[in-house]
């Protein structure tokens, strides 16, 4: 059985490729740099040089695969040149879908984001809930349009499933898609954490291993054209930081700072980065975003796929152990 996995040098894609290889799939991966130190190494993994924005390389890598997991994306909230969100996340996905339809791929799993669902109301949001606030940035729009494309190709006869991951944490690469590990590393290193004063704001945190298992569950049991949220526990910032503190085994200071101060600081930081022409991922707008409730319900995935959630404290223990082994603390 052959499977193509894109984004294999990224946080989730790497784990998907290794898991598929472990499950005895012949895994094709599409990488921009064959020598990339981030790419997964396994006897079952075959590397193809290319890029999802290049149709020819997509076709070559997908040849003879009956399954596809498309996890490649620009996974950050801002970029100097915002057109890459559309060329990679939307047009890249279109190339993947075109090739899958042309080559008769049997199952296509598209990794989307909780960002498409947006902020939550009184209850955690589920797959069918309407978006209740305006789209905010190019990343959200590009992933939304990519989802619309996937649905369109489903209507044209492709068996495709959308899985949506929220804020993902857990052992893995430190890259754009893995802001949670960067945060944890900083907390372990500095032995203090800045907790925003809006500490009752709730968001969903998914353990990376759950998300990976969820992809395979979706591939086995998911229904075509459906979307599944692969999340974790909904936690307030207060319990989020408390749980981290309890699991580090160290005396970590939690310092509460008001939101306006964080916004002001982020504004200054953004200005400095602007002057130095450095790319920044922090802006007052993103701070506002972090102050919104983003609770999600994984009930559909649990019910239909048999998805299960690793408790946050257990997931965080594993993550801290991983970071400690890498001598970060």
């Amino acid at each position: 059985m052959k499977i193509l996995i894109t984004g294999a040098t990224g946080y989730i894609g790497y784990k998907l490729a290794m898991e598929a290889a472990r499950r005895n799939y012949t895994v094709h991966i599409l990488v921009r740099d064959l020598q990339s130190p981030l790419s997964p190494e396994h006897p079952n993994i075959i590397k193809f040089k290319g890029d999802i924005t290049d149709k020819v390389s997509v076709m070559a890598a997908m040849m003879n695969c009956d399954k596809v997991m498309h996890a490649a994306a620009i996974a950050k909230l801002s970029a100097k040149d915002n057109s890459i969100f559309y060329s990679v996340n939307v047009e890249g996905t279109r190339n993947m879908l075109d090739a899958a339809l042309a080559l008769g791929v049997k199952k296509f799993i598209f990794t989307s984001s909780g960002a498409v669902i947006g902020p939550s109301g009184k209850y955690p949001m589920s797959e069918n809930d309407p978006r209740i606030a305006a789209f905010e940035n190019d990343y959200e729009i590009s992933k939304h349009w990519a989802e619309e494309l996937v649905k369109e190709y489903c209507r044209r006869g492709l068996f495709a499933i959308i899985v949506a991951a929220p804020r993902v944490y857990g052992p893995g690469h430190e890259c754009n898609g893995n802001t949670m590990n960067v945060l944890l590393k900083n907390i372990l290193f500095m032995r203090l954490a800045f907790v925003p004063s809006c500490d009752n704001v709730v968001a969903n945190y998914a353990f990376v291993d759950d998300v990976v298992t969820g992809h395979f569950l979706a591939m086995e049991k998911g229904l075509g054209g459906e979307k599944y949220i692969l999340g974790g526990e909904n936690l307030s910032y207060r319990s989020f930081f408390q749980t981290i503190k309890q699991n580090t085994g160290k005396n970590i200071k939690l310092i509460r700072i008001p939101r306006w101060l964080i916004k002001f600081w982020s504004f200054l930081y953004m200005c400095i980065c602007g002057l130095l022409r450095k790319e920044t991922h922090i802006s007052p707008k993103i701070i506002d975003r972090l102050a919104q409730n983003r609770a999600l319900s994984c009930d559909k995935a649990i019910r239909q796929l048999g998805y299960s959630i690793t408790p946050f404290s257990e997931g965080i223990q594993k993550t801290i152990l991983h970071l400690k082994n890498k001598n970060y603390a």
């Binding site: 915002n82 009184k122 809930d129 305006a134 789209f135 349009w145 619309e148």
Partner: protein
């Protein structure tokens, strides 16, 4: 369920209409929502009932057809509920040269933007006057005050709503019905608009507001019985400029802004969903 008052919101499936529906629900108003078939009203109603504990009904109608306006009225009467608030929000927008669209498009635009709010307000007048205080909120646009190129028919339909609202307001005041009109500027209503707005610069970008922010201002204004609601600092400033700047200077500004505002079409959405290009 009987004899409860309801707010009727047209074009409630997306953008500003959806934001208005959520805002009204947050204020514990019961809702009757109307939008085109297949636009996701059922999941919106589900969400609203679960999160806000209000009663909602939804109807899928194309209000640019006058028969469907009558159908809507009859269906609501059959439910034996009363409407004491009408928010005429459904409309067809668009920024294009006059000859870039065919006559059918403009006919439909006028029917939806002008005829349907007129009919609906007339049909529900009895509901309103029997359940005061009652409210009518018409959704116009800042384009009704600025005669911009590429907004000929759109701007004119929106000017109609301002004139209609202001006059009707004087007529209905004594009957306990307050008529308001809101004139928003640019809004982040749907992904396509957000995409365009992210790619605009300068003054027009600063003035862009999120629909949820405007919806709050709209309902506040409606309940305070304001005549014309202009949301946001920049939009208010534009109105002030309009009063004081000399005519020739204004013409220069609008010419310049039009030359700069190229409609950025995202290739994606236009190729996958031709239905959406109508709006």
């Amino acid at each position: 369920m009987h004899n409860k008052n309801f707010a009727l919101i047209t074009g409630a499936s997306e953008g500003f209409g959806k934001a208005l529906a959520l805002e009204c629900a947050a204020r514990k108003m019961n809702l009757v929502l109307v939008a085109l078939p297949g636009s996701g009203l059922s999941s919106l109603c589900c969400y609203i009932e679960r999160n806000f504990g209000v009663t909602t009904y939804y109807f899928e109608h194309d209000l640019s057809k006058k028969e469907e306006c009558y159908d809507l009225f009859n269906e609501i009467n059959r439910l034996e509920i009363t409407v004491n608030t009408i928010i005429n929000n459904a409309g067809i927008g668009g920024t294009h040269y006059f000859d870039e669209r065919n006559t059918e498009f403009y006919y439909k635009q006028i029917e939806l933007n002008v005829v349907s709010p007129t009919l609906l307000t007339h049909l529900f007048l009895q509901h309103l006057s029997q359940h005061t205080p009652a409210y009518v909120l018409n959704v116009s646009s800042l384009a009704s005050f600025f005669y911009l190129p590429k907004k000929q028919v759109y701007g004119a339909t929106k000017s109609y709503l301002v004139a209609f609202s202001k006059s009707l307001r004087r007529e209905l005041k004594s009957r306990g019905i307050s008529v308001s009109v809101i004139c928003p500027g640019g809004m982040n209503t749907n992904p396509q608009m957000v995409f365009q707005n992210l790619n605009t610069h300068g003054l027009s970008r600063w003035s862009i507001m999120n629909p949820e922010t405007v919806a709050k201002i709209a309902i506040d204004g409606m309940l305070k019985k304001e005549e014309v609601i202009i949301p946001g600092f920049w939009n208010k400033l534009f109105m002030l400029f309009d009063k004081f700047l000399p005519k020739c200077y204004k013409e220069m500004l609008t010419d310049k802004s039009m030359r700069e505002s190229k409609t950025i079409n995202n290739p994606v959405i236009f190729s996958i969903n031709p239905l959406k290009t109508a709006v």
